[in-house]
């Protein structure tokens, strides 16, 4: 069962939650019920120089029975001291919807459908990124 936009019921719910928490969200249908999602203005922690940024990730067709993994942020994000994002869990040289990007790898060992969500995972990933400095 997919929406007129081509999103599965779970993906539509996930997008609604992201929009209610983060405002503008661009969602491109992957053709199988899933979505490539770009949250345009995610507030960043103080340890990052920029105040906000776009963050991209995929919601697969079977979200939220599957985790959200692989978050993409702009290559020009830096820590407050000016150093570039780098290290374990960060992979440079990526692109997200045509934009140069760094991939953040934070896999969930246990993912609980109905409790965990794309919005919560995004918040945790950004907190993790900020806590590295």
């Amino acid at each position: 069962m997919t929406s007129p936009d081509g999103f599965s019921e779970g993906v539509s719910r996930g997008l609604a939650e992201l929009r209610s928490k983060y405002g503008t969200v661009i969602a491109v249908a992957t053709g199988d019920g899933g979505a490539r999602v770009t949250v345009e203005a995610v507030p960043l922690p103080a340890s990052i120089r920029q105040e906000q940024s776009w963050v991209g990730f995929v919601l697969p067709y079977n979200y939220d029975d599957v985790q959200v993994y692989g978050h993409f942020v702009p290559v020009d994000l830096t820590y407050a001291d000016g150093t570039a994002l780098a290290g374990s869990g960060l992979q440079a040289g990526q692109t997200w919807e045509g934009r140069p990007a760094i991939k953040i790898s934070r896999s969930s060992l246990r993912w609980r459908s109905g409790v965990d969500s794309a919005a919560l995972k995004l918040q945790k990933v950004i907190e993790w990124l900020g806590a590295r400095r």
Binding site: D32, G33, G34, Y61, D65, Q67, Y69, G114
Partner: protein
């Protein structure tokens, strides 16, 4: 169209303990049930049991001997209205193997149920239990339909009927020897079953052929793959012709591509053999992905499911169906780790029964979210999300190991359905490690908030058709 109640063993035991405490009196309860409708009939899936307290919620009545109190009816029907569940009242008559509604019961139903059906916007109904029998009636759109009985899903798949079913005829001569173990009733039961096998590869093909030989009445195999030459060592009765071997082994890339595109689908190879093995049975081979919206419904009205693929997607999907539709599942496989140096690690042959009230594959940690996520992406996204260990790399597969795990799984199925495990034997997950000749039971903690096997608010347990399955559009 049949109407069947499905409940777990522990739900049944809870209910019977309440109804038959040994005082010879009538007692009452309400069941809140999910619904599953298909061409095979309607299934009512017990999600919650509300036991009525004697003298407070199950009280003396002017129109019947005893009845549920108005407050209890209001509270439980509110729950059903809010959750989208079917409301079923329950009471008991005396012990025995036959039971039926009394005239007073029917008058009570006629008075109460039209307004309850209107309020809950769902069918409503009633059950009356003896300790070894159950009769029921479901009302929807103002019409009443008798229930055919109940299936109790657990380590044993048991059945309760309004009265003892007629003795089946003797088993056909083909099954004489196995009927000595199963009995004519067991053999007859196999013929009534619809069994779905996900995956028709090394293990799934052997499961299918054993089920056909056993005399399972309706067998459905689902697999999106076509036969390749490398399958010929493992899929029984597959031929070089099926694999278009002369093209597949050609030096020409174009010829190999033609073979890959036009070789016989695995489900058709299995179908040929399954029909030979059981000409009286129905076989359907679906050359499709299990999560395709076009085939997912085949699982929801099955009596039993085998999950014989090595993908997390299939495991997750089977686990969801098991709990959302109360269909028992056995997941089986053969994991043979061989590294790039040729060193062989610990070989694992798991057989994991998901008996609905235990064996959840998610709680057991048998579903890797990392791999599930990777499998769930479209090709374009998968490339940039890939981890170092590529799941597309072919792993070893050996017919004797596949046969070992398939045989144990089919035996568990047979014993669960025919009640042949010794009384009290827990049908849990097992792991065979053939290099060490070890057969181990594996245990795990159930997550009380599991989204599949618990009854927490967000769980899929017993919801039936009320929650869409995570399918890909057809």
């Amino acid at each position: 169209m049949t109407v069947q109640l499905r409940m777990t063993t522990s739900q049944r035991d809870t209910l019977l303990r309440h109804l038959f405490p040994g005082d010879g009196e009538e007692h009452g309860a309400v069941l809140a049930c999910g619904q599953a409708r298909s061409a095979r009939g309607t299934r009512l899936l017990v999600r919650e049991i509300f036991l009525a307290r004697d003298g407070i919620e199950f009280i003396a009545s002017t129109s019947a001997y005893r009845a549920l109190s108005p407050e209890f009816v209001a509270r439980t029907s509110d729950f059903c209205h809010d959750g989208g569940f079917v409301w079923l009242s329950v009471h008991n008559h005396g012990p025995g193997d036959s039971v039926a509604f009394s005239a007073a019961d029917r008058r009570s139903h006629d008075r109460l149920y039209p307004s309850l059906e209107h309020f809950t916007k769902r069918p409503v109904g009633a059950l009356v239990f003896a300790d070894q029998a159950v009769a029921g009636e479901l009302r929807f759109d103002g019409r009443a339909q008798a229930m055919d009985g109940a299936v109790i899903v657990g380590d044993r798949i048991e059945r309760m009927h309004p009265r003892p079913p007629a003795l089946p005829p003797d088993a056909p001569a083909t099954y004489n020897r196995q009927a000595l173990l199963l009995g004519a009733r067991g053999q007859h039961l196999l013929r009534q079953l619809k069994v779905v096998v996900i995956g028709a590869g090394g293990a799934g093909s052997i499961v299918c052929l054993q089920l056909a030989r056993l005399g399972v009445g309706e067998l459905v195999a689902i697999d999106p793959d076509r036969l390749s030459v490398s399958n010929l060592s493992r899929i029984p009765a597959a031929t070089r012709w099926d694999a278009l071997a002369w093209l597949a082994e050609s030096r020409s890339a174009r010829a190999r591509a033609v073979a890959a595109r036009f070789a016989r689908p695995k489900v058709r190879v299995i179908g040929r053999e399954a029909r030979r093995a059981n000409p009286r049975g129905v076989y359907r081979g679906l050359h499709a992905d299990i999560v395709s919206a076009a085939v997912a419904h085949e699982l929801t009205d099955a009596d039993f499911i085998f999950c014989a693929t090595d993908t997390m997607t299939s495991r997750m999907f089977a686990n969801i169906v098991a709990h959302q539709y109360m269909v028992p599942v056995i997941q089986l496989g053969a994991k043979i780790p061989v590294d790039s140096e040729g060193d062989v690690g610990v070989i694992h042959l798991p057989v994991r029964p998901v008996t609905v009230e235990r064996g959840c594959l998610d709680c057991a940690g048998a579903i890797s979210q990392r791999l599930l996520h990777l499998e769930s992406l479209v090709d374009e996204d998968r490339a940039r999300h890939r981890y170092v260990d590529d799941p597309d790399v072919e792993e070893p597969s050996v017919i004797s190991l596949n046969t070992e795990t398939a045989g144990r799984a089919v035996t568990d199925f047979l014993f669960m359905v025919c009640g042949l495990h010794s009384a009290g034997t827990p049908v849990g997950h097992q792991m065979l490690e053939p290099r060490e000749r070890l057969l181990m039971s594996t245990s795990f903690e159930r997550d009380p908030a599991c989204p599949y096997c618990s009854t927490s608010a967000h769980s899929r347990f017993a919801l039936g058709d009320a929650r869409p399955l995570p399918t890909r559009p057809a």
